[in-house]
């Protein structure tokens, strides 16, 4: 929707006021988590743009602690579901159980009824459980028996995958992975950061408890502001150029990528790139999106939406390399 310069200036002011919690959240979570600022920012982007995040990283990188701390800091409730091969859809969404005293079936809601869900090792559960979770993520409601229940707002699912152990897993199909707003690679901390982690844990000093710094209502307000953030036609065009370059590299003088890409990003990729760009602009306390915002989130939004061919895998080329080449070829408005 077109906006005037004055409207954008007013929006800027609103965002500057409403976005105070971003720094406060970073600071509060920083008391417990050392480093991992990239992961925290991506969780906030997921939260603000109503998306879900797939986290990939080896165990022990504070994924659970980060989301737990975030939930506490925004006074939201949090549930963790450990995905195992014998998990059933009812274990996630809930079921009807028979109450002998009242002589009737009553609803027992599953752990999905929370603001923040950590679906730990999502690829360890069979397809039907993954499918139940992903459907709930998309619909934001679940049906138990004859009744449909709306899920909480905000509702953010963080699914984790272990990239090392692939035996006995059920990899998420491309169509399911596409439902995640972002796929974030959680990396090891820097040496200095790890030294601090080591010191905190070895000294045995109790960590400061996380204090709530923002309410759920303020988060909901921020979400509505994010939707209002101005996205200029030139930036829209830039997003489309990038996404189209993943589908038709030849049109962007990137013919060398054609044999490496089996399929490009879907329209959901364009939508999510724009939404994540808006949320990134909010984190930067701006009422409009700039190409920098798009470039900042592009790897996390597109890495799981670009299919690679066997040729690319044989040459050890990954989606990040493809995105690098596209960014070098597509003109910035």
């Amino acid at each position: 929707m077109a906006k005037t310069g004055e409207e954008i200036r007013q929006l800027n002011e609103k965002i500057n006021g409403a976005g105070y919690f971003v720094d406060a959240l970073r600071q509060e979570i920083g008391h417990v988590i050392v480093g991992q600022s990239h992961m925290l920012d991506r969780l906030l982007i997921g939260l603000l743009s109503n998306g879900h995040v797939l986290l990939e990283g080896v165990p022990g990188l504070a994924k659970t602690l980060t989301i737990k701390s975030l939930a506490t800091a925004i006074q939201a409730n949090f549930n963790r579901i450990q995905f195992t091969p014998d998990l059933l859809p009812a274990d996630v969404i809930g079921t009807l159980i028979y109450n002998q005293q009242q002589n009737e079936f009553v609803v027992r809601k599953g752990p999905i009824f929370a603001n923040f869900i950590l679906a730990d090792e999502i690829n360890r559960a069979p397809a039907k459980v993954q499918s139940a979770l992903l459907e709930a993520m998309q619909e934001r409601q679940v049906t138990i028996g004859d009744s449909t229940y709306k899920l909480d707002d905000p509702f953010l699912v963080l699914a984790t995958q272990n990239p090392l152990e692939q035996e006995g897993t059920y990899p998420l199909p491309e169509a399911q992975v596409d439902r995640f707003l972002m796929k974030v690679i959680v990396r090891y901390p820097e040496m200095q950061e790890e030294q601090l982690i080591l010191r905190y844990n070895v000294q045995g000093e109790p960590l400061q408890p996380i204090k709530p710094v923002v309410s759920i209502d303020e988060i909901k307000n921020a979400k509505s502001l994010v939707r209002d953030i101005y996205l200029d036609e030139k930036v829209e065009r830039y997003i489309l150029d990038i996404v189209f370059a993943t589908r038709y590299p030849d049109r962007y003088q990137l013919g060398k990528l054609t044999p490496l890409i089996s399929y490009g990003a879907s329209p959901r990729g364009s939508i999510n790139l724009a939404l994540a760009g808006k949320a990134q602009a909010f984190l930067n306390k701006r009422g409009f999106v700039m190409p920098e915002d798009i470039r900042s989130v592009i790897y996390d939004v597109l890495r799981h939406r670009i299919g690679l061919t066997y040729e690319a895998e044989a040459e050890n080329i990954n989606a990040e390399n493809i995105i690098d080449e596209i960014l070098k070829a597509v003109n910035v408005p």
């Binding site: 906006k3 005037t4 310069g5 954008i8 200036r9 800027n12 101005y230 200029d232 030139k234 930036v235 701006r286 009422g287 409009f288 999106v289 700039m290 190409p291 920098e292 470039r295 960014l327 070098k328 070829a329 597509v330 003109n331 910035v332 408005p333």
Partner: protein, 315 residues
Amino acid sequence: MIKNGAGILVVLGLLLLTFSARAQEAPVKATVDKQKILIGEPLLLKLEVKADKGNTASFRLDTIPHFEFLKKDSVANEESGGVQVIAHYYRLTSFDSGRWVIPPIAITPDAKTEAIYVEVVFTSPFDPGQPYHDIQDIRTVPFQLSKGFEKWWYLIALLLMMLTVAIYWMTEDQKPRKEVQLARGAYARAKQELKALQTAGVTTNRYYAKLVEIFRTYLSERAKVNSLQQTSGSLAGKVKPFFNDGVLYTKVAGVLSLCDLVKFAQYEPATPETKGAHEVIDQAVDHIEAAVKQLAQKTHPTSVLKENAPGAVKQ
């Protein structure tokens, strides 16, 4: 004595009679044209059958151990003194070395030929002491041009040399000239477009978009910075090495940010702000041009000398 001589004559007569009777009793005969052949060498086997006129003695010879049939059964009939001689010819060979026997061939139950010995040998006597060579050794053949081709060869070589000299002469002189023309073109074009933009009368948004586009294109062509694919923030970082003047660099970075505000946030700058932005970009182009020339002089002194030489293209 006479008795003894008569006895001998009687014995000889009896023997002759025996031989003649025996000759009459052998109506079949096998002969070969050679008793010793090389491996694979043809051998002609002739089988003769004597029979009364009108009697067609027919038989079939299929195989002979150690021998191969090259051609079978060509028949010739001869007649002498009321006796018919039927000759069957077989062309044989052998691929087994050794001494082999063509066995007696039975034409009829009562008539069979005699066995024939045939020796099959190598080309040269086989010496197991010599090294084994399944093919001949490679021999070097001295290169020699045929006399008719020799003059053409010299002519082609001469033409190739002339072509090489011509290509070298053309490219050696034109390469730096082209670079100079392109570089001077980028600067002149940027200046020309900046001047034209002042009087273009376009919307503010379009004005700033064009202003930054001129700057980016100039940088891309002249300073070899992939400026068209950079965001304003990263572009500011890329052009920093060209500025020894910190004040001008700060102004350029500010103008790039202003351009972003106008392009992406519909910001409407005041006229002096727009005029100032234009001046900063104009100065930045001059500054970068001087810096690039200085850098080129350090790295390729000859190209700059050529650029400044009398007769060089002046813009």
